[in-house]
Every structure is written in structure tokens, then in C-alpha cells.
């Protein structure tokens, strides 16, 4: 059963729980990456991501988003066709960025499905649409960083 079908049979509490779990998984992933990071800059970077996702978690409780950022430019899809890195304690930063970007993409699609589902409810529709856009912004930033470092001549 795909996500769209799942949502139809869920009640609001379950939906919120599902979203919070998604955000929590991201928080856990970035916390792990932060703790493994070998230098301060990347530790900071992952802490930023932890903070961003934590804000999302809070927003979900109130169906409100603060400091909404505008829709990013077209999805670069750089990591869409790359292999899923294996989550381990010896990941390279290249692998971590790919992993994170793919997560953002997956989460964005989840929120998009929810936005489409709640097309009849303006408040929920707007909220989930903004969440989807935020995740896409995260993905875009990660992929830009990836492109600058790992595809310098590619």
C-alpha cells in the first residue's frame, strides 16, 4: 500500500505521529553524523540540520510554520540517481550528504502527499505544502554543497 492509500485510512493523530517519526529519524541521523564528524565545520553543519528538523517537529504540533522560506529553484535531482549509502560509523562526508539529501527528498514527498490529501482543508493544505517546500530547500542546499565539492569537474 503506498503512502497516499495509507493516509486515507489514518486519523489525524496517526498522521501527526508519522510525520514526527520522520522528523525524529532525521534528527537522529544528523545527530549521529554530527558526533562522527571529524572537524568543527561539519559538526556545525550537522547541528544546523538537527536544529532545522527539531523546528519542524515543533511546527507539526501546532500546524504552524515560523520563518517560512520561499520555494527553492528546480530540484537538482543530483542524489536521486546515486546509490543509497549504508548507514555506518565510518561514513565519508560524501556518503553522509547523499544520505541526508535522499532523506529530505523522501520527506518532501511525504509532505506533498499529505498536502494533496488535504486539498479540501486550506490550513492543512498550506501547512503541508510549506513543509514539503522546506524539505526541498534542505535538499537543494545539500546538493549544492555536494556539487561544489564532489563534482567540481563533473
Amino acid at each position: 500500500m503506498n503512502l497516499k492509500d495509507q493516509i486515507r485510512s489514518m486519523d489525524m493523530d496517526n498522521i501527526v505521529e508519522m510525520c514526527i517519526n520522520q522528523e525524529q529519524q532525521a534528527i537522529d541521523l544528523y545527530t549521529l553524523a554530527r558526533d562522527q564528524a571529524k572537524d568543527d565545520t561539519s559538526r556545525q553543519k550537522f547541528q544546523e540540520l538537527v536544529d532545522m528538523e527539531t523546528v519542524h517537529k515543533v511546527s507539526l504540533k501546532n500546524f504552524e510554520i515560523e520563518n517560512y522560506l520561499e520555494l527553492p529553484p528546480a530540484d537538482l535531482k543530483i542524489t536521486d540517481y546515486l546509490m543509497d549509502p549504508v548507514l555506518k560509523d565510518n561514513m565519508t562526508i560524501q556518503e553522509i550528504i547523499i544520505l541526508a539529501a535522499k532523506r529530505e527528498d523522501k520527506t518532501a514527498r511525504m509532505y506533498q502527499d499529505l498536502a494533496d490529501h488535504f486539498h479540501f482543508d486550506k490550513k492543512l493544505n498550506t501547512f503541508f505544502q510549506m513543509m514539503a517546500d522546506e524539505e526541498l530547500r534542505h535538499k537543494h542546499d545539500l546538493e549544492t554543497e555536494y556539487e561544489n565539492e564532489f563534482l567540481q569537474e563533473g
Binding site: V86, K88, N90, M91, E95
Partner: protein, 290 residues
């Protein structure tokens, strides 16, 4: 530079070299390797360091002449010099007191397993060595191994010495006798390490293998030696050469090792033909002067 202090055959087509290498000898730890070139148009090949002596400034390598470069290397004698020698490369073997350590080795792998067995013993393990070879003539370093471990068991493919069978059969024998190894180190040809890893995965014994891969620079610069371990690409020269045998994609590594098979065979064939011509010419010279 890179002088051969002593060269001698220790088995058919298997030669032991003591090389003058004070810097390498000083830094070398068990499990590490060197890269060498035999002549000025030679290729760079990796060879595990079997032994070393820091005070006397030498390292020992054991070479089986299976390809052009190793065959050429095995024609060198005491007093000759190598073109290039660099090391020590790779990460040293991680040794701890696991309890019962079983070192399983095949062919030249036994010379490579020797320092690990010795270090394992020094760390407090009970060490059992299982040495496998095709026949009794190809068993190497048995005596040296016996000096450092608690027990040596032999297996030969043709039954000419020890148990008739493979090292995996001997391991099964040990287990049937009630001995439960805490750690296994397997060093030898790739199919042997793969077989051991499969066997131990099923019975749940941690296993370390020492991978051989094609290399060019040996310092992580080119990626020729990449392998997949645990779903992730690693460079054998800087992330290894030792890895968890249960995580290694042996199939992929096996096919990567064969990349230049055709060219290598051609090169080896030419070399052997040249050697034959040389030998014949020398024979004729002797006959003429006699």
C-alpha cells in the same frame, strides 16, 4: 639501494628475500606490505612483509612466481638490487586477546600469517595454525609457525601430508573436537578466504581476511584496489589490507583481480620465452667452451 641481502628458494617457484630496508624495518608492523619494482620499466606490485628486523635493518618477503613480475623477481639473487621499494603500506593488523585464535593460511599466505600468529600469541591468545597446500612440497614456513603457535595442523589437497582435504575441513575437525575459536584470521588465495568466510559466517565466528588486490600507487591515490566491504567501497591499500571476511564481496574482488589476465599472461609468456632463450644460449656457450 634496495639491496637483496639474501635470496633463496624455499619451495618450488617460491622464493624468500631478505631486503635491506632500514626505514621500513623500523616502522613495520604485522599485516603491512611493501610495493616494489624489479626493473626500470617494471610494474609496481604489492607484497606482504613476512618478517623484519629493526636493529639489523631488513625486511623479509616471500614471493610466488605466478606472474611476469614475480617470476622476474624470482630470478634475482643475493647481491642484486631492486629498482624501487617503498613502505610500510596499509594498516597494521588489529591484534587483541580474543582467547583462541585460529590462523588459517594457504600457500604463501602462511608466511604472511606468521607475524600475525606471533603477535596473537604475544597478546595472550591460544593460537592454532592451520596450513593448507596443494601438496607437501608447497607447505612453507611450517617450522617457523610451529615455533610461535600452540598447535599446527596441516592439510594437503592430495593427502601427501597431514589431513587429506582443505583448511576448511581442518577447521570443521577442530570444531567437532569441541574447540571453539574466538577469532579466525584467514590469509591465502581469494577462493580460500571466501570459503573460510562462508563457513565461519554460518557458525558465527568472527573472521579477518587479508585481501590481495591489483595496486598501482598503494597510497590511496588511484582506486585500482577498490573492493566492496559491507556495501561500501573501500581502498585495500589504505583502508586494509585486513577486513571483516563476512562483509567482503569476494565475487566482485575475484573478477576485479582478473582485469588484466590476458595481458599478464601475454607478458608472462614473453618473459618465459626470453628466459628459455637465455638459458639455451648459456648452455650452448658452456658446450662450446667445454
Amino acid at each position: 639501494m634496495y639491496k637483496i641481502i639474501k635470496a633463496e628458494f624455499i619451495a618450488p617457484n617460491v622464493k624468500s628475500f631478505i631486503l635491506e630496508a632500514p626505514h621500513i624495518a623500523k616502522k613495520r608492523q604485522a599485516g603491512q606490505f611493501i610495493i616494489l619494482r624489479v626493473h626500470d620499466k617494471g610494474e609496481r606490485i604489492p607484497i606482504t612483509i613476512a618478517d623484519s628486523n629493526a636493529e639489523e635493518g631488513w625486511i623479509n618477503i616471500i614471493v610466488q612466481g605466478l606472474g611476469k613480475t614475480s617470476a622476474h623477481l624470482n630470478t634475482l639473487e643475493t647481491g642484486d638490487s631492486l629498482q624501487d621499494l617503498v613502505g610500510p603500506l596499509g594498516l597494521p593488523t588489529h591484534i587483541e586477546n580474543w582467547g583462541t585464535l585460529v590462523c588459517m593460511s594457504g600457500g604463501v599466505g602462511t608466511a604472511e600469517a606468521l607475524p600475525i600468529a606471533a603477535a596473537g600469541k604475544a597478546a595472550g591468545n591460544r593460537v592454532i595454525s592451520i596450513i593448507g597446500a596443494r601438496n607437501k612440497d608447497l607447505i612453507i614456513a611450517e617450522d617457523k609457525m610451529a615455533e610461535v603457535v600452540d598447535e599446527v595442523r596441516i592439510s594437503t589437497d592430495d593427502g601427501s601430508a597431514g589431513r587429506h582435504g582443505l583448511v576448511t575441513d581442518v577447521l570443521q575437525d577442530l570444531i567437532d573436537e569441541g574447540i571453539k575459536p574466538d577469532m579466525i584470521v584467514a590469509i591465502g588465495p581469494l577462493p580460500m578466504m571466501a570459503a573460510v568466510s562462508n563457513q565461519t559466517k554460518e557458525i558465527g565466528i568472527p573472521t579477518m581476511v587479508s585481501l590481495n588486490a591489483i595496486m598501482v600507487d598503494g597510497t590511496g591515490m588511484c582506486g585500482a584496489c577498490r573492493a566492496t566491504v559491507g556495501g561500501k567501497t573501500v581502498f585495500v591499500c589504505v583502508d586494509g589490507p585486513e577486513f571483516d571476511g563476512h562483509q567482503v564481496d569476494f565475487k566482485e574482488l575475484g573478477s576485479r583481480q582478473k582485469m588484466y589476465k590476458k595481458q599478464e599472461e601475454e607478458s608472462h609468456k614473453c618473459f618465459l620465452e626470453r628466459q628459455m632463450k637465455k638459458m639455451k644460449a648459456e648452455q650452448m656457450k658452456e658446450e662450446v667452451s667445454a
